[in-house]
Amino acid sequence: MTDSTLITPQSVGSVMRQLLLALIPGVLAYVYFFGYGVLFNMLLASVVAVTSEALILWWRRKPVGFFLRDYSAIVTAVLLALCLPSLAPWWLVTIATLFAIIVGKHLYGGLGQNLFNPAMIGYVVVMISFPQVMTTQWFNASQQSKPGLIDTIIHQTTPHKPKQNPGKPGAHSKIDSITSATPLDKVKSELERGKTLSEIRHPQLFGLLGSSGWEWVNFFFLLGGLWLLYRKLIGWQIPVAMLGTMFLMAGLFYVYDSDNYLPPLFQLFSGGAMLGAFFIATDPVTCAATHRGRLYFGIGVGLFTYIIRTWGGYPDGIAFAVLLMNMATPTLDYYTQSDAFGHKTRKP
């Protein structure tokens, strides 16, 4: 009967588990619109993450079981898998996860010590190394035939070349014919070719609010994120600041030139906006710690995301935006401390 009767504090493990729970609606929507690829990716990434983490912990002579119970490796793996193309080949997922866990997390000293968001490290590494794969192995939601589970797995695990580089016919899986870029990416390249928005606005790319299919995935991630907010597992500052900034920026440019700039809601309901705002940028270890610091952090992520999406060379800017702001975190924390109690009335 000597149990703690104070309050039952959360544990790191329970926080992470709840984070995973909150992802479920978004993941289901993802599977519904884009097929089973993402599930395979999540599973593969998790296995790679847990194995590599266990090995490193063992090698660093840390308590393996104790640290595996914190679930942080699985959270990293799942978030990373959700950012990779759903039809990405297995080796891409593996490389990204290994980088996330080994370089992004353990080279910095493990849980709590890393400066950069490990999932985003993994993402950026493969994005820079394999841009072709990263931009083409997506599934288009408006496609009639969603590939089955078996086909997807065959596609992801057998060696083949991306379809822009037609090799020998035998090396293609049958899914190759349906992979494509994301709507966000396509719209961008169309715009770059000088087309106006009204010319490229067709249901294959545009849904009700955002890009077709993606808008629903975003919507369900938003729901999960709101639940996290309600459970006080994340603060409101980063999501609100980040989405607000994106909305404002997009709004300004859309008003200025609605032919060449995407509407603000399209921005918020495309790509990884909601996942990034509620689940990635809010990673406690790498985001700012003070309330004001978190506001600035969110604003920064929103701003860079918009800039990279609109004028940069990559389809989505969230990963780069988050990493850029991670760099600013220590400085933000130092300069945004609020006055401690009694410091406003402090005598000189």
């Binding site: 009967m1 000597t2 104070l6 544990s11 640290f67 849980l111 709590g112 109690f341």
Partner: protein, 569 residues
């Protein structure tokens, strides 16, 4: 008697905790028979340790002063009952370090006989009305309070008269009586208020007179309805005193609403400056138990020789509040509450509440002026067994810190022994309330790190002062040797000059005078350079104190270094 403006303000952070108050409030305050042996520590307050006035073998009477000191920040100690002093020696005392400290041990004679002086006062004044209080001067009241050895009974045990003396130098507009007993389990103040509200009101009146303060805010948590009723009744039936108002304020039940700074913020909206005192903003805060002790001292002539201790927790059979003599072993309190609960397996003991209390390992430790609660069989923040994870910087601690600090940064720098950086993040504004540690998902014993860092910083500061003193002593000695050499030289010169005068028939008297003047000036200069800066004039007692403090600190350091809370080591 109500304040025109009963507005309350909010303080940042804090936690809503399960109160566990009812368990110990179900029965009236229980008195104990006089124990066979009293162990009375020489230091029961913040400040300078007292020195015994009695020897082994002396007979003492109840209420007799048995230890005191000339130092101003201290409170004299009195015999809690009559008997014979059988030892003056080190004995385990309630202290987080678990160390022993000098105590006067009295074997009681069972007569519980009052000291004559107090007996007289009791005989004549027992029924003295509080309305006579204005005939006593405030200064005399403050002296009575000092002589009665009264300290803050909320747990900090700061000598009350020091606070009062400091307050009269400032303009105090508001007296706050802190009765917001915010830490879970502790109910000694509530029990007192329920049973002895009229005496408390009298005690407040005395304080108001001693301070010449018109406004008093009596602050009680809003959820203890029975306490409100008792106080309201006492206030209604108390004789109104012109120009002395007492308003009852119900403060939110949120830990640590009873923290001095938080309470002041809640009821006045003002923040005590970080480097200042409540008196800087015209406020003075006293615990309600202290007000009651003041009543006993002034109206009954009784020094502080007993207090109410809450004995509670799942590990005790009959939780309750005990009125115990200072020096009573805690075992007697446990027995009075029916002993350990046979259904509990382990019964860790904690002095204080579950948030700020500290564990003790032996129950023969005596009750002191600052013992407000004995927790039995409750796992507290300081006895938690969770193995900590690294900090994941989730910021949960930031949201609850009532001092508005960044606990995770304090932790980070304290752990890395970067104490200057920890101070950059205002380590010394931490009130050690434990809110941060209570919500930390990594279960890091954060407060232990802050205490460790503070101790280390104090220790370096002391070392620095010590070496500074040594340096000055050395310089002083050097200068003295120099001076002696010079003087010797001068004497020789004078002699030589005198000799010269004798041999040379006509010395120049003017020149000699000038020479002498120059020498005088030089001598004076040399002397001025070596004026000691107040550090050589230490009395033997002071020197001993310093050395003892140093010894204690070393021991503490050894003790803590073995229990370094580092999760990774």
């Amino acid at each position: 008697m109500t304040r025109l403006n009963d507005k309350l303000w909010d303080f940042y952070g804090g936690l809503r905790l399960p109160g566990h108050k009812e368990e110990s409030l179900t029965r009236p305050i229980q008195s104990l028979p006089v124990p066979a042996r009293l162990t009375i520590p020489l230091q029961q307050h913040i400040g300078v340790e007292t020195e015994p006035l009695v020897k082994v073998g002396d007979k003492v009477l109840k209420g007799q002063q048995i230890a005191t000191t000339q130092a101003s920040v201290a409170a004299p100690i009195h015999a809690s009952s009559s008997g014979t002093v059988t030892a003056i020696e080190n004995h385990p005392v309630p202290h987080p370090s678990g160390l022993s400290a000098p105590c006067i041990v009295i074997d009681t004679d069972g007569h519980d006989q009052w000291h004559d002086k107090i007996k007289q006062i009791r005989d004549t004044h027992e029924t003295a009305a509080i309305t006579d209080i204005h005939t006593i001067t405030p200064a005399a009241l403050r002296e009575t309070i000092r002589d009665a050895g009264i300290v803050g009974l909320g747990g900090a045990a700061f000598p009350t008269h020091v606070k009062l003396d400091n307050a009269v130098e400032h303009e105090i507009q508001t007296l706050i009586i802190n009765a917001a007993e915010c830490e879970p389990y502790i109910t000694c103040d509530n029990a007192l208020m329920r049973e002895r509200a009229p005496q408390i009101i009298d005690g407040i009146r005395i304080l108001q007179h001693a301070l010449q303060v018109k406004h008093c805010l009596l602050c009680v948590e809003d959820e203890v309805k029975d306490t409100h009723t008792a106080l309201e009744q006492a206030l209604a039936s108390a004789q109104p005193v012109p120009g002395a108002e007492i308003s009852l304020l119900k403060t939110p039940t949120r830990y640590p609403a009873g923290g001095e700074k938080q309470l002041i913020k809640t009821v006045t909206g003002k923040e005590v400056p970080a480097n200042g005192l409540p008196s800087d903003i015209g406020v003075l805060c006293h615990n309600v138990g202290t007000a009651y002790a003041i009543y006993r001292a002034v109206c009954l002539g009784e020094p502080l020789i007993s207090r109410i201790v809450t004995v509670t927790g799942q590990g005790i059979t009959r939780p309750g509040n005990i009125e115990a003599l200072i020096g009573t072993p805690l075992t007697e309190l446990i027995d009075a509450c029916g002993g350990f609960n046979p259904q509990t397996t382990a019964s860790p003991l904690t002095i204080g509440g579950p948030m700020m209390g500290f564990p003790i390992s032996r129950s023969e430790i005596p009750v002191t002026k600052s013992s407000n609660c004995l927790l039995v069989g409750v796992q507290t923040l300081n006895t938690q067994q969770h193995k900590p994870y690294p900090c994941i910087r989730c910021g949960a601690c930031v949201d609850v810190c009532p001092a508005q600090l960044l606990p995770q940064q304090l932790y980070w720098h304290s752990k890395a022994r970067e104490f200057d950086k920890a101070q950059d993040y205002n380590l010394f504004d931490c009130i050690e309330c434990g809110c941060c540690a209570a919500v930390c998902p990594s279960h890091i014993p954060l407060v232990q790190y802050y205490r460790f860092a503070k101790d280390e910083i104090w220790a370096t500061e002391k070392d620095r002062q010590k070496s500074e003193r040594a340096r000055k002593r050395f310089e002083f000695r050097q200068a003295r040797i120099e001076r002696q050499k010079r003087e010797l030289e001068e004497r020789r010169k004078r002699k030589k000059a005198a000799l010269d005068r004798k041999t040379h028939a006509q010395p120049d008297p003017k020149k000699a005078a000038i020479q002498q003047a120059i020498e005088r000036v030089q001598r004076k200069k040399a002397e001025q350079q070596v004026v000691p800066k107040n550090t050589e004039a230490l009395t033997a007692a002071q020197q001993r104190q310093i050395e003892e403090a140093e010894k204690r600190r070393q021991k503490l350091k050894r003790a803590t270094s073995t229990t370094n809370p580092d999760p990774e080591s």
